[in-house]
Amino acid sequence: MKKLLLLGAEAIAQGAIDGGISGIYAYPGTPSTEITEYVQNSKIAAERKIHSKWSANEKTAMESALGMSYAGKRAMVCMKHVGLNVAADPFINSAITGVNGGLIITVADDPSMHSSQNEQDSRYFGKFALIPILEPANQQEAYDMARDGFELSEKYKSPVLIRITTRLSHSRYGVVVKETRAQNNNSLPDDSKQFVLLPAIARKRYKILLENQSNFLEEAENSIFNKYFEGNDKSLGIIACGIAHNYLMENYPDRNCPHPIVKIGQYPLPKNLINKVYNECNEILILEDGYPFIEEMIKGFFDTGKVINGRLNGTLPRDGELNPTIVAKALGIETKEGLPIPEIVANRPPELCNGCSHRDVYEALNEAMKSFGEKRVFSDIGCYTLGALPPYNAINSCVDMGASITMAKGAADAGLTPSVAVIGDSTFTHSGITGLLDAVNENSPITVIISDNSAVAMTGGQQSSATGRLKEICIGIGVEPEHVRVLTPVPKYHYEMVDVMKEELSYNGVSVIIAERECIQTASKKKKEKSKE
């Protein structure tokens, strides 16, 4: 029995390897990044030639994984919760096409928004797509679900969603690993029209998906991940899903919870267990990390049944991550309190590193913008979003990957000229290129600053997909070559940068300034590795 100490993310990766994947596809995003990185660093994955290179974005990752499944092999695609918004189109449609080789989509949600712009709950997406959802409570289940999820996927030729949260993804515990399954051989789908979603075929495929709903329910009702624990005190029944079950059990160190508990790890919701606890108990408490997904379902529109306690009636906070103390309070268990944080403790928000090229970009931009008006710098998602905070206060938006360019264009359409976009190199290749094409097609008066640090820096310095080729890409999609300017953002070129920015801000059309200097974190890492050789 081999036991490894693994992060939840790593347990999923090891489970996927042992489940026989031939490829993992992803774009980095906290808290999902470590899944793919684990496969990239795994010896056995290298021996098995498991594909693990980064994709340009979550949509291309999802589609590549679906393509691998088409060819008969098992594939996993991973992303953070907002990444699923990007991949939503192929994700929803993969439920209609169905799969050939097993396909698992792993999505890491971020309740409390530790590193994200919202705390959306991916279980809604799973329900929306009408596919089975697996939600591990701990690292062992994360491993087991990833490994065995491929069997479930291939049994019904359906994609399967695994939903984890930040806390599980970034928490380590011992995991017992099993033998590594063989990879699939290539095989083509039996039905040559399965993946052709012309309306006439899509209607048939959709009916197959609908027919499968009862199978998915039966699987959930018999799943080892859904369990009923008896309890004598039936004044309250508890439904706990995913990691919330850990917080519940923390309050009963001897595992002696007096109330019946339904532990949920597989959806659709198992009717048999939910009916049993609902019928047996006077009231229900629902513990789920994320939105009140189960709670809304059980409460129903008219809320005429038994009292349902949870996030909607104030028993638990409406937003944010759960923890053992919050759960104890919901159960009326006495909680301890530590000492308050003394006033002397100041906030310490994250900041751009000393020597970071984004700093030089903002120094120059702030000076250049003085004569062009304020509140017109649209920005994007990456380390450079920290430019919104003091000392720079340089940017006015951060919405979703690529939105800087298109929001600048829309604002310019509305007469806010010049409008400026600040975007990173990897965010540009993720979702900025098509927006720039929109701007080129109308010669919109915008200036796009690509703050190019040649890395996906925020998530740990992963390889950026078009390092060294950004200028050619911009010219290739039609930005006039004389308005694609390349700069080196270092303090000694400050005035030169300010001048170039002013020139391009004055130009009544699309201009791109590429400020190119490698992330100091990845540069120093490379230097260290080189000195070792």
Binding site: S115, S171, Y173, M249, A346, R348, C383
Partner: protein, 198 residues
């Protein structure tokens, strides 16, 4: 046996190395270890923490409940106070007093150290200086671990083993430096009258 530990510091200061050493050591003792950590945005010079739990029984929660941590081990003085709501009444604070100043409103160091020492159970000292004195620069985090180790109920031999596991591939010099740092921290802790909470 159960120890709940909050590790705190600033992104990049090496609290995850402390967690890893204790984790490896606890595994050598066949204990259960659960450790939750912070990745992503906060690692860029922000406040970071890790919840480390070791026990001879299965551990349920990935997070320590408020008011129940046995120890706060901090590699930075101001950060040692940020997680006080987690510390139990009898818990100990073990902290470095060398500040990491990357914000304009960092408090006056003398007042800060006075505040830290006003709490009941505290070991606070300049670990950077000790690391310098034993010619083991950049090991102040392991010096702090050394000072905390009498509370861990994990034998020093196992902590040494953890250091070897973590730093082994970096070469013998690095391993030796860190082991020296561990023992320097243990020596420092002897200056305090320690009654570990049980």
């Amino acid at each position: 046996m159960k120890k709940d530990i909050i590790l705190s510091g600033v992104g990049g200061q090496g609290i995850l190395s402390i967690a890893a050493i204790i984790g490896f050591a606890a595994l050598e003792r066949n204990l259960f270890v659960k450790q939750s950590e912070v990745h992503g945005m906060s690692q860029r010079g922000g406040a970071v923490q890790s919840h480390l739990r070791i026990s001879d029984k299965e551990i349920a929660s990935d997070l320590i409940p408020y008011g129940e941590a046995d120890l706060i081990i901090s590699v930075e003085p101001m950060e040692s106070l940020r997680y006080l709501p987690f510390l139990s009444i009898d818990g100990w604070i073990i902290t470095n007093t060398t500040p990491f100043i990357n914000i304009p409103n960092y408090p006056d160091l003398e007042s800060l150290v006075t505040k830290i020492n006003s709490y009941k159970n505290v070991i606070a000292f300049n670990a950077e200086e000790i690391a310098k004195n034993i010619k083991a620069p950049k090991t102040s985090n392991v010096v702090i671990l050394g000072a905390a180790s009498p509370f861990l109920e994990v034998p020093y031999e196992n902590l040494k083993g953890g250091i070897k596991t973590l730093f082994g591939r970096k070469g013998d010099d690095i391993v030796t430096m860190n082991i020296n740092a561990l023992y320097a921290g243990i020596e420092e802790s002897k200056k305090y009258s320690i009654k570990p909470s049980s």
